[in-house]
């Protein structure tokens, strides 16, 4: 007899998410993912001055801040006909690099680690390391004071939870260090971004921050510190966990899903734009022994609203989408729509990117027996952080060369003012995965605006055919021996790094007829 349980709210994510699962014989048999918050940013943007879009859409999310500022600026660049000078792109890349480093480190330590360790095991630490003893004193002090918030309450540790005091105490020490490291990574981004969260320097045509040589040196020095932490602490921690205590979870492939992956490709290594840090591609039904990658054809993207709180409509490309909001709709259970590529649900994010890039470290783990799933997602995230760090060094070198040349530019001033009309799409690969923004300009105002964001792909509900979204599918078969303690469910969901404020865009509850997002 199946038992249905609801986890609401899913915590340690961005935004508001509800997960329902049906459990039979200790395993998840069925699952539903629901976004439970909406503001309606796209409706706000209709009729506004186009340049407002990059500032406003940055506020989709304050965790992955400015990723929408970038995608939106790229959509505006296309609609305005702006050509961003390589100097401007270098600075865009560098501040996004800082964002990546912070975001991935935050995700592993602050948002995920508590799912995998029994923090109370630090009390059993018997070593002599002074720093670790200080960590022990701290946690034991909280326990003695009978005030262990926010570390408890929690789901109870299970068979996969790491309880070895030496491993746990070092992880807790790194949890505390990581808080400092990602704060510093954000400071690094602020060198050109102005401040965090929400940079101020990315606008249509390029950036506003004219660099000087001191800033380059400062960024590089701060990057050195980040690189050291990533290479000496973050990546070793993830690999030690993934190939050690969590290896059974990895080989079981818990949290696999549909095995369809997509990346739009992003971050040019040089001005030619040919060589990308993250290559583009689509994989349908991964076969690890023979990875087949197709080119991305953006015309094949559609969105279904069958199970979302919008009026019935057939699945259409975002360019031709029509959205009519309907809060009382039968069979609807989410504010998140269901994007599909060639009719198929896709996983986007670090794992998708690293498989599509055929990254040797990730492929190596798969060949050793790790199946793509929750643990592999953490590994892919850590591994790609190193690629971003390497790219930042490369971009810094190029910036130094560029900025000392006469005629150095960061902005396309010719195309700063909005055109009478125009349209454009902006694509990016921010930390959580494939991101697209579409804009149509008419009479120098925004006529239509649409964003299909990473967590819309991953957190989507079922589509026309009743095919589950990637979160939902990834939960199927997950072991939940105790329905009161569904720790594997939250492990799987958090491995995607959900960002629900991003995923949800809607509409007008009073008229029930919001806007048509019609972009031919």
């Amino acid at each position: 007899m199946a038992q249905k349980i609801t986890i609401d709210p899913i915590t340690r994510i961005e935004g508001h998410l509800k997960i329902e699962v049906e459990i039979e014989n200790g395993k998840v048999k069925n699952a539903w993912s629901s976004g439970t918050m909406a503001r309606g940013f796209e409706a706000l943007l209709i009729g506004k001055e186009p340049r407002d879009a990059s500032y406003i859409t940055s506020r989709f999310c304050g965790v992955c801040y400015s990723v929408h500022q970038l995608a939106s600026s790229r959509a505006l660049d296309a609609a305005f006909g702006a050509n961003v000078p390589w100097g401007g792109n270098l600075i865009r890349n560098l501040v996004m690099g800082a964002e990546y480093i912070y975001d991935h480190v935050l995700h592993f330590y602050q948002l995920s680690a508590l799912d995998y360790i029994d923090i109370m095991a630090v009390a059993n630490y018997s070593g002599n390391d002074k720093e670790l003893l200080a960590v022990k004193d701290k946690i034991v002090g909280l326990v003695k004071a009978k005030d262990t918030y926010p570390l408890t309450p929690r789901y109870e540790p299970d068979e996969f939870t790491v309880k070895d005091p030496d491993i746990v105490i070092s992880a807790v020490k790194h949890y505390i260090e990581a808080l400092k490291m990602h704060a510093k990574a954000r400071n690094m981004g602020a060198i050109w971004g102005g401040r965090t969260p929400h940079y101020q320097n990315i606008v249509v045509g390029g950036v506003t921050s004219y660099p000087d040589i001191n800033q380059v040196a400062r960024f590089r020095t701060m990057l050195d510190e980040q690189a050291k932490f990533i290479n000496k602490v973050y990546i070793p921690d993830v690999l030690a966990f993934g190939t050690g205590p969590l290896w059974p979870l990895a080989t079981m492939g818990v949290g696999g899903g549909h095995y369809n992956y997509m990346s739009y490709g992003d971050f040019a290594k040089d001005a030619s734009g040919k060589d990308l840090v993250f290559p583009a591609g689509v994989i349908v039904g991964l076969n690890p022994a023979d990875i087949k990658i197709d080119a991305v054809d953006q015309d094949k993207i559609t969105e279904s609203v069958k199970h979302a709180w919008y009026k019935e409509n057939k699945p259409v490309h975002p360019y031709n989408g029509e959205q009519i909001f309907k809060l009382d709709k039968k069979d609807a259970y989410s504010f998140v729509k269901a994007p599909r590529y060639d009719g198929k649900p896709m996983e986007v994010g670090p794992l998708a990117r690293m498989i599509i890039a055929k990254n040797p470290d990730v492929i190596g783990l798969v060949q050793k027996g790790a199946k793509p799933g929750a643990v592999a997602r953490h590994a892919a995230r850590a591994i790609e952080t190193r690629l971003v760090v390497d790219a930042c060094y490369n971009w810094l070198d190029q910036l130094l060369t560029e900025m000392t040349k006469p005629g150095f530019k960061i902005h396309d001033t010719e195309h700063w003012n909005p055109p009478e009309s125009g349209m454009g799409a902006g694509f990016s690969e921010p930390p959580r995965g494939a991101l697209g923004h579409w804009i149509k300009v008419k009479d120098k105002k925004i006529e239509n605006y649409q964003a299909v964001v990473p967590s819309t792909w991953n957190a989507s509900p079922r589509d026309e055919q009743g095919v589950r979204g990637q979160y939902e599918e990834s939960l199927i078969g997950a072991p939940v021996p105790d329905p009161k303690n569904p720790v594997n469910v939250v492990r799987i969901i958090r491995s995607f790094d959900p960002c629900l404020a991003c995923a949800v865009h809607i509409i007008d509850p009073n008229t029930n007829e919001i806007r048509k997002f019609l972009i031919e």
């Binding site: 986890i7 609401d8 709210p9 899913i10 915590t11 340690r12 994510i13 961005e14 508001h16 439970t36 918050m37 503001r39 409706a43 706000l44 506004k48 340049r51 407002d52 406003i56 506020r59 999310c61 304050g62 965790v63 602050q110 948002l111 004193d137 701290k138 034991v140 002090g141 909280l142 003695k144 009978k146 005030d147 918030y149 926010p150 309450p153 808080l179 990602h182 704060a183 510093k184 954000r186 602020a190 060198i191 050109w192 102005g194 401040r195 965090t196 969260p197 320097n201 606008v203 950036v207 506003t208 921050s209 004219y210 530019k409 902005h411 001033t413 404020a501 509850p509 009073n510 919001i514």
Partner: protein, 340 residues
């Protein structure tokens, strides 16, 4: 002398219950006792007694509604003091969706227990939907009712970020976000709210206000818009302390970000609203003083003012009502500083 001889088991418990480790405590006692020429034992006992009679860590509940979590990230931006010390040593963070270990039913149970117990600082991030409760639900409950319920038994209420302080960007969306003050007024809950606006909240403003409340047990002095007067206020203007100010007065306005000659000129023509932003950003700056909006060539949008976002748009031109007002004030000589 050995530890055990100085600190009884009970003393150790008292000291540790305040999150202080015993080694640090003993070092401190030895040094201070020597200074005053009294025995280390007497001193340690006296301090421990004082600690025991003082209150425990202040409970804090953090609720997030129509928001982007940027204010949460702003909290974690604190390096001096580190956020780990704020969360583990200074406050007892009972509820915070983005931080807490618990999920699902456990979160609801924590919420109910804390509200019943009362005596906590309530921090709200994000606006409250006024168009329809269904725009934001947590654990199946409308966010509005969660805020109202928690406000009743709070000792202090902090509305952090533009959204919860004044409605911010969500005010202009179909969800029709309203501020905490407005939501409480509608529910006829009469409680003072400290508005720590800007989008997102400034780390220093947030941490400083929390520390002020913890240290003094009082609410800080507020300006006419309910914001801490130590950071905001009618006499405090981004414009007055802006490094580009002289260029505003001289009529030198940046038109091309590529032109090194103009690099430090006034950003008014790019849409800067600094002359109407009553915030201390240009002195305090952001990210430990590394930079702030105007210094990266970006424009100030007065994100700490109630007019943000509707009335400062369009953002990157001089066509907004706000920009027109600023220009009229400039022409009238309003910004000129003369000795009274």
């Amino acid at each position: 002398m050995k530890e055990g001889n100085i600190l009884s088991k009970k003393l150790i418990e008292v000291v540790e219950s305040h999150g202080i480790n015993r080694r640090d405590f003993l070092k401190y006692c030895a040094a201070t006792a020597a200074l005053f020429g009294i025995s280390q034992f007497d001193f340690a006992t006296k301090v421990a007694y004082a600690l025991e009679s003082s209150s425990k860590k202040a409970p804090v509940m953090w609720l997030e509604g129509l928001a982007c979590a940027g204010c949460t990230i702003s909290l974690t931006q604190s390096l001096y003091p580190p956020v780990s010390s704020i969360i583990l040593d200074k406050i007892s963070l009972r509820m915070h969706d983005a931080v807490m270990a618990a999920a699902g039913d456990l979160v609801e149970a924590v919420y109910d227990a804390q509200v019943k117990e009362g005596g906590y600082i309530l921090i709200v991030e994000g606006a409250i939907p006024s168009a329809d409760d269904r725009f934001c639900k947590i654990g199946g409950r409308p966010f509005r009712t969660l805020v109202e319920g928690a406000a009743k038994n709070a000792t202090a209420i902090l509305a952090v970020g533009a959204c919860s302080a004044f409605g911010g960007i969500p005010r202009a969306t179909p969800a029709k976000g309203i501020s905490v003050s407005e939501a409480l007024a509608k529910a006829k809950i009469d409680k003072p709210v400290i508005n720590i606006s800007t989008c997102p909240v400034h780390t220093d403003h947030l941490v400083g206000t929390i520390l002020y409340v913890l240290t003094t047990g009082k609410l800080p002095e507020l300006d006419s818009k309910g914001r801490p007067a130590m950071y905001f206020g009618d006499k405090r203007l981004v414009h007055d302390n802006c490094r580009r100010r002289a260029h505003f007065d001289a009529g030198e306005f940046l038109t091309d970000w590529n032109d090194l000659k103009q690099k430090d000129w006034c950003l008014f023509q790019k849409g800067c609203k600094g002359p109407m932003a009553h915030i201390d950003c240009s002195i305090r700056r952001w990210n430990d003083g590394i930079n702030f909006c105007i210094d990266c060539g970006g424009v100030c949008q007065a994100c700490g003012e109630p007019v943000f976002y509707d009335q400062v748009a369009p953002l990157y031109t001089t066509e907004s009502d706000s920009s027109k007002n600023i220009w009229a004030m400039r022409e009238a000589g309003t910004f000129k500083k003369e000795k009274a």
